[in-house]
Point group: none
Chain length 252, copies 2
DNA sequence: CGTACTAATGCCTAGTCTTGCACGTTCTTC
DNA sequence: GAAGAACGTGCAAGACTAGGCATTAGTACG
């Protein structure tokens, strides 16, 4: 078996079975354990696998599985998060919304990024405490239990003292007619306030949000600078959005 | 099953089921209880799980039901926390400091307690999101990475608008001469500010803090209403404190 | 066709990681 | 307060690993 072929096979097994046991793989394919281990080492060095004692695991297997959400959606959110990280330029000030996608963005920020992040989410703030070079400003106020963010007049007042370059906004629906929506009126108002405190507003919308709509409008599509999403552009819902001029940004 | 995979699986179960019972997990996956226990120990050491008698719980109590939490082994901080919970009367307003002991208090609050909790710790705020009947006010401001609390002028300003019945204060040292101390001057100032916003100030001090002193004074002992601690009263350090009139409160 | 070169491989060794077991201790329960 | 379950620790056996080294296979070039 060719070396390259062997590595492809390793990656395939890794994807389909979620793991590779060096010894078993060698036995099953009539290879020496040495070769398999060498391959695994190289795949790990290339960032394509995670080397562990006894074999290898996919790069980020269950680790991304946050709070027991559906794995699929989580992977989507991760993809969106990785793309959204690019929007936070070094030296800039960004407002980060609450929610799992925004949390994923916080975690995905480069460890050496020097920037100022403003957030009304205690969870996001706690996650950002891990980033030594990021300056974090927490917007205080009444804690809104459902989505674990502060909101209301105190928070709005605190936000009034802030001007940011970008706002990364999480919503529950992005719809061609309804625009950006979320499930709670107070939450919607808070997000609207934050959008007013930044130059550019980018929406974080994993595929399942595209074409969906909730009860309360946050903003019309025209007020948005970009919508970061991992939905394929030939998806009907995506097409409908593109038709009304929504600025979709693909998350590879 | 690979060791690394086993740990991932443990974390996954922890997140989805809210707990892991060592014996069951071992039986279900055909593993020795020893390995499972060892893994749990390591996960706990890494801060990814909370070790309890019989198994483990998630670090954040998000999915843990109250019944499951009763099994939690009573460690020092928990003992102090359980005693401190009594200080938060129904209907009152309490300021909760940052730190692990304060976090333990937040988690130990009765699920049906109706009270208002003010905090400058995002971590504590996130934990309190689980308490439907507790009104939570987050003090915003610059995030102080080391101890994961907000502090500084913005936070002080937000605190100025608050008046609470009690302040539960965490420190790193309670010393007969030095008084209450902590390792950072800004942190000390913040705690002092908060103490000025409440009628009574209670200190949360697990045994190892008693008799210890750090570089920066928060308050002299005279300004304190009570010091909740699990140290035995016949301990020399405790005696020294009692001798200077410190109001020690025993945590059973 | 032969030579020189590189890549790939298998084997060996020293060292690390994991595991199951034994033992004494701690915690829970009745 | 006694029995039993769960615990942590120490230890030795075995599995796994990285790196070195010699051999082989494959390739480029004269």
């Amino acid at each position: 078996m060719l070396p390259a072929q062997r590595r492809d096979e390793l990656l395939r097994v890794l994807r389909t079975e979620g793991r590779v046991v060096a010894k078993d793989f060698a036995t099953r394919h009539g290879l020496s354990e040495d070769s398999v281990r060498r391959d695994l080492r190289e795949l790990a060095a290339a960032g394509l696998a995670q080397r562990v004692y006894g074999g290898a695991l996919p790069v980020s297997p269950a680790v991304v599985d946050y709070a027991g959400r559906r794995q699929v959606a989580v992977e989507n959110k991760d993809r969106v998060a990785r793309a959204a990280v690019e929007l936070v330029r070094p030296g800039c000030t960004a407002i980060l919304d609450g929610g799992t996608t925004a949390l994923a963005v916080a975690r995905a920020l480069p460890p050496d990024l020097e920037a100022t992040i403003v957030t009304h989410s205690p969870t996001v703030a706690a996650a950002l405490a891990e980033h030594p070079t990021v300056e974090v400003l927490v917007l205080g106020g009444r804690l809104f239990k459902h989505s674990v963010v502060t909101s209301g007049s105190i928070t709005a007042e605190a936000a009034a003292g802030v001007w940011a370059d970008v706002f990364l906004l999480g919503v529950t629906g992005v719809h061609p007619e309804a625009g950006l929506t979320t499930g709670d009126p107070e939450e919607a108002a808070m997000k609207r306030t934050l959008a007013g405190r930044a130059g550019d507003t980018y929406v974080l919308a994993s595929a399942e949000k595209i074409g969906a709509a909730s009860a309360f409008r946050v903003l019309p599509l025209e007020h948005v600078t970009g919508i970061v999403t991992d939905v394929p552009f030939d998806d009907p819902a995506a097409r409908a959005l593109l038709d009304v001029g929504a600025p979709l940004i693909p998350a590879t």
